[in-house]
């Protein structure tokens, strides 16, 4: 049966009038108007919920971050709450004490935002540029490796070990990043490294 047609037949017989809303149709049109008037004083605000990964350790627990404001709508967004993501298979809504304190981590005044350098003998960190930081790290690593690289062991067997420097990669890396980290770092001879850091 054509439902549109059958409805018309039903209505034709019943002679129902036109009513725009459920409240109006039941005869509550007046309270609808009063409510619409009352709500006019209020306004909507944008909030967001965003999935992310706790950056503290290699367990990589899922989190939901709640913000006031929506970046997608050209607003500032301020994180107001972070909780464990129930839908995430790793942690299923739970967080360890470090993860549970993530909001503190995000808002910390001492949070690291730029490369910082504490020169030998100094008691303070100072901000440096990325180029300077990377150049300096490369220089020091090269010097250290040149000075301390062990090519062969006591029996003359080639071992290619660089034991005087270590490397920590990010905790929440993908398999691919971890694989690449391993290839790059291990190729230099470095043996003390963690490509899924736990801190």
């Amino acid at each position: 049966m054509n439902m549109e047609l059958s409805r018309r037949q039903f209505l034709g017989a019943a002679g129902a009038g036109v009513a725009g809303t459920a409240l109006g149709a039941f005869g509550f049109g007046d309270i609808e108007a009063a409510h619409a008037e009352a709500i006019r004083a209020f306004k909507l605000v944008n909030t967001t919920e965003t999935r992310n990964t706790c950056p503290y350790c290699s367990v990589a627990c899922g989190v939901i971050m709640y913000s006031k404001g929506d970046l997608k709508k050209g607003e500032q967004a301020e994180i107001i709450h972070i909780e464990g993501d129930t839908d995430h298979p790793t942690n299923r809504g739970t967080l360890c004490p470090k993860g549970a304190a993530l909001l503190d981590f995000v808002k910390s005044e001492t949070r690291l935002k730029y490369p910082m350098l504490r020169k030998p003998g100094s008691d303070r960190f100072e901000r440096v540029g990325w180029d300077e930081a990377i150049g300096r790290i490369a220089r020091l690593m090269k010097d250290d490796r040149d000075a301390n690289f062990i090519q062969t062991n006591g029996d003359g067997v080639t071992v290619n070990r660089w034991t005087t420097a270590g490397f920590l990669a990010a905790s929440a890396t993908t398999n691919e990043t971890a694989w690449e980290t391993y290839k790059v770092v291990r190729s230099t001879g470095m043996v003390a490294f963690d490509n899924q850091a736990r801190v």
Binding site: M1, M3, S6, R7, Q9, F10, L11, A14, A16, G17, V18, A19, G20, T21, A22, L23, G24, A25, F26, G27, F28, I31, A34, H35, A36, A38, I39, F42, K43, L44, V45, N46, T47, T48, E49, T50, R51, I64, D70, K72, K73, E83, G84, D85, T86, D87, R92, G93, T94, L95, C96, P97, A100, A101, L103, D104, K107, S108, E109, T110
Partner: protein, 305 residues
């Protein structure tokens, strides 16, 4: 490091592992009575009280007829196997054709609803569905199954929907929850109905999980958060709430399908009911009406907003 910010880490969030079931089937014995109580509670505040009290009584009528209805039967093994094989919901909505139990449900519900204290328009609509023949009722049910409400017969269709709710809640409660599997985004895995709204629950063992609530059979099904209930997109999901209203009801908006649906935070307001609180938060619909998103899902009690 000194702690001088407004930050207050919450160690209780460490909590227990959450392992939500895929579905929570409705319990007709409590669904309508709990909902009715919630409608009454919500009626205690605000201008909507007459409508909320009316709906409380409609829920009482739905509850009142349950005891004498013939017990619902689960679909037979063959029908279940076929539904499963074709990834269809186990309850077949087309089966209402010629189902005498549904006719009995309609008749008893409309008789019970006669006692409700209601405006004349509601009484007239009730009289029309009470005297409608089975073919007319069936046609209206079919319209409801497409998640539409004709603007010129909203009240009549809501009475039919109330009867369908009783019928399908009974059918869904007879299913085996373990056999209910996901069908598609935005579709009830038990009956194929559209979601009325969704809610993040605080239930022990499922805390923080979001469940969609079926507009027809009342089944609650687990649905990943920050994902459009209507189209399944996870891109461009935003939330809007009425400023200063506590944040336990929000509009979840989707920039993929340009729809929105209502999401409740039952973990923050434990008495929440996905249908009663939907009506009571009409203000959100009124404010969203001016925006670029259209409300999806199916919420007959707020038809027209």
């Amino acid at each position: 490091m000194s702690r001088k910010t407004a930050v207050a880490p919450d160690p209780t969030a460490i909590g227990n592992v959450s392992s939500p079931p895929f579905v929570r089937l409705p319990d007709p014995a409590s669904l309508f009575s709990v909902r009715s109580a919630r409608f009454r509670q919500l009626a205690g505040t605000g201008e909507l009280a007459p409508y909320l009290n009316f709906l409380a009584q409609l829920n009482d009528a739905q509850h009142g007829i349950l005891a004498d209805l013939p017990p619902a039967e689960a679909p037979d093994a063959e029908a279940l196997a076929r539904a499963h094989a074709f990834e269809m919901p186990p309850l077949d909505r087309n089966a209402i054709e010629g189902d005498s139990a549904l006719e009995i449900t309609f008749d008893r519900l409309f008789a019970a609803a006669d006692a409700i204290d209601k405006p004349r328009a509601a009484a007239k609509a009730l009289a029309r569905v009470a005297s409608a023949d089975p073919a007319q009722r069936l046609a209206m049910a079919r319209t409801l199954f497409t998640s539409t409400l004709p603007g010129d017969a909203i009240a009549e269709h809501i009475f039919i929907w109330a009867g369908l709710q009783v019928h399908f809640t009974g059918l869904a409660s007879a299913l085996d929850a373990a056999g209910v599997k996901p069908v598609a985004d935005g579709v009830c895995p038990a009956c194929g109905g559209a979601p009325a709204s969704s809610m993040v629950v605080g239930w022990h063992g499922s805390h923080g999980a979001r469940f969609c609530s079926c507009s027809l059979c009342g089944t609650l099904w687990h649905y990943v958060r920050i994902k459009c209930v209507l189209c399944g997109s996870t891109k461009g999901i935003g939330y809007q709430e009425i400023e200063g209203h506590g944040g336990f009801v929000k509009a979840e908006t989707c920039d993929t399908c340009h729809g929105w649906s209502k999401i409740f935070y039952q973990d923050k307001a434990p008495g929440l009911d996905p249908v009663a609180d939907d009506v009571a938060s009409l203000g959100l619909d009124l404010l969203m009406r001016d925006g670029p998103y259209r409300r999806g899902g199916f919420a007959p009690l707020l038809a027209g907003f």
